[in-house]
């Protein structure tokens, strides 16, 4: 089993398609919706999918075949360790508990795998240590 985070981009007319149902039914994938935005010009869905690697790529191929934009999300934000002061401002801002204070060393730890790519830490880091990677 492996896990991947993917961003899906829909055109407005695709918003109502039952793609998540197909992913479960046909490709045997488990998923978590990390984020969903719907706007006039379409929608965006951030999914964490779990399944066999071949099934994940088949699922992605299916999505692309029906015209959904797919972008794999590896690292969305990165931390410049030389600028991070370990203040902890980002800790209470992060909605995904991806950032934690280590109460022994008082260092702030960032867990990339929990990140849902909201970008909130980027604008709230005073020394601008958190940066968008894309």
């Amino acid at each position: 089993m492996s896990k991947k985070k993917i961003n899906l981009y829909f055109r407005p007319e695709q918003v109502n398609e039952a793609i998540t149902y197909v992913l479960v039914k046909e490709y045997d994938l488990k998923f978590n919706i990390l984020r969903a935005d719907v706007e006039e010009k379409g929608g965006r869905l951030l999914l964490e999918v779990e399944g066999r690697p071949s099934q994940i790529s088949n699922g992605i191929a299916y999505l692309q075949s029906i015209g959904v934009g797919v972008k794999e999300l590896n690292e969305y934000v990165e931390k410049d360790l030389s600028r991070c002061t370990n203040c902890g401002m980002c800790v209470s801002i992060c909605p995904a508990d991806a950032i934690e204070m280590d109460r022994q060393t008082w260092e702030v730890r960032f867990d990339q795998s929990k990140c849902i790519a909201c970008g909130l830490c980027v604008s709230s880091c005073p020394p601008q240590a958190m940066r968008l990677k894309v």
Binding site: T85, M89, C90, V91, I93, W106
Partner: protein, 388 residues
């Protein structure tokens, strides 16, 4: 038990001084008691690293050929105040560069100088008989200028209110982003490591006190602006912002590790500075305050949704609660975030300790004590007669 500054400095010179960080002294006092701890320890070191908006630097650029009496000055595009002598200027930390895509201000210029980088200088002038030149466009660095020293009118507040937000929308403040409906709480003191909380009535800290400043050495110049002694005390420590210090120190000798530009979205720019103050253990009383712990030091919680200088605290919390990560407020668990870095505060207290142990730093008796009583005044809109 009594100790004098002279005795402590003699011990430093002999390499015998016992120096501990405030955290170490707390542990010692817990195991052996205050009396024994006071006997054993000569100096307790403190530290803090946080946003200190009321900061800036005086720079003397040297005279050009032909000379100029600078009227308008920009450093990397950031306006500096030049309404003093010909080639003197003051670059304030919060001043911002205009028409620029990303946050860049006086604090960034100061950080760049400290990091040894070249800084672009542009100046214009009216031109006079003794200073004929009307403009100059050049580069400076700490290597080329005559003097470059920080003079910070208000640094290291003794304590500070904790910020939260009851309103429906996120607020962007100098206390960081405050999420709606008490979504988070931000604080900005190093608590048990913070200098002015360890000698709350400033018995040993006054004009002339030598301190660790931005990685180098600095001095207490004056009472800080908005210095006040009136807040209520708990365990002998003011609950909320009280005393502050005006500090002075040479940019040469400072390090970008402890001088860092900060920017707060929707608010503006500030300067993060690391400050450490040694507390001489002159007697047991001073040891008693030097070992106050996070659970004995309290701060008021203020609702930043109320946009008034008179907002009343909605709660009081200890630094132990704040540092635990969540605080209960109106039955709800609220996550906390610190704006000051406890990690760096520790490094500073430790660095200062080592500087003293290595005889690079001796203690100073204040030349003058700071005010024992001081009220803070407000600014009201009045007539000319009202203010007389």
């Amino acid at each position: 038990m009594k100790r004098t500054y002279e005795e402590i400095n003699a011990k430093i010179q002999q390499g015998d001084a016992v120096v501990m960080t405030a955290e170490e002294a707390i542990k010692l006092a817990e195991s052996k008691g205050i009396e024994k701890a006071a006997k054993e320890v000569d100096i307790v070191t403190t530290g803090t690293f946080g946003a200190m908006c009321s900061s800036g630097a005086f720079i003397n650029f040297g005279h050009s050929e032909p000379p100029i009496r600078m009227k308008r000055v920009w450093l990397n595009g950031v306006p500096a105040y030049a309404g003093i002598a010909a080639v003197d200027a003051y670059i304030g930390a919060t001043e911002e560069r205009e028409d620029y895509g990303q946050p860049y201000g006086g604090a960034h210029v100061i950080e760049d100088l400290v990091a040894g980088k070249a800084v672009h200088l542009r100046a214009t002038a009216a031109g006079t008989d003794c200073y004929p030149r009307k403009d100059i466009d050049t580069y400076i660095s700490l290597r080329t200028v005559n003097q470059a020293y920080m003079y910070n009118p208000r640094n290291i507040y003794q304590n500070y209110g904790v910020a939260t937000n009851s309103s429906e929308r996120a607020l962007f403040t100098y206390m960081g982003k405050l999420l709606p409906h008490y979504g988070n709480m931000t604080y900005s003191s190093a608590g048990q490591l913070s200098p002015l909380l360890k000698d709350p009535h400033l018995r040993t800290i006054g004009i002339g006190t030598r301190i660790f400043m931005g990685g180098g050495i600095g001095y207490v110049a004056w009472e800080g602006t908005q210095y006040k002694t009136t807040p209520r005390e708990l365990n002998g420590v003011p609950v909320g912002s009280a005393r502050s210090l005006a500090l002075i120190g040479d940019l040469r000798g400072m390090s970008p590790e402890f001088v860092q530009a900060l920017s707060f979205t929707g608010y503006g720019i500030s300067l993060g500075i690391g400050i450490g103050v040694p507390i001489p253990i002159l007697d047991e009383d001073i040891m008693r305050t030097a070992v106050l712990r996070d659970d004995q030091i309290f701060a008021p919680v203020l609702d930043y949704a109320i946009q008034s200088r008179g907002r009343k605290p909605i709660a009081e919390v200890s630094y132990a609660q704040l540092r635990s990560g969540t605080v209960e407020l109106f039955g709800k668990k609220v996550q906390t975030s610190s704006l000051s870095s406890y990690y760096k505060a520790r490094i500073i207290a430790d660095r200062l300790k080592r500087m003293i142990e290595e005889k690079e730093f001796t203690l100073t008796r204040p030349v003058e004590q700071l005010p024992r009583e001081r009220m803070q005044r407000a600014l009201d809109v009045c007539s000319e007669e009202d203010v007389l």
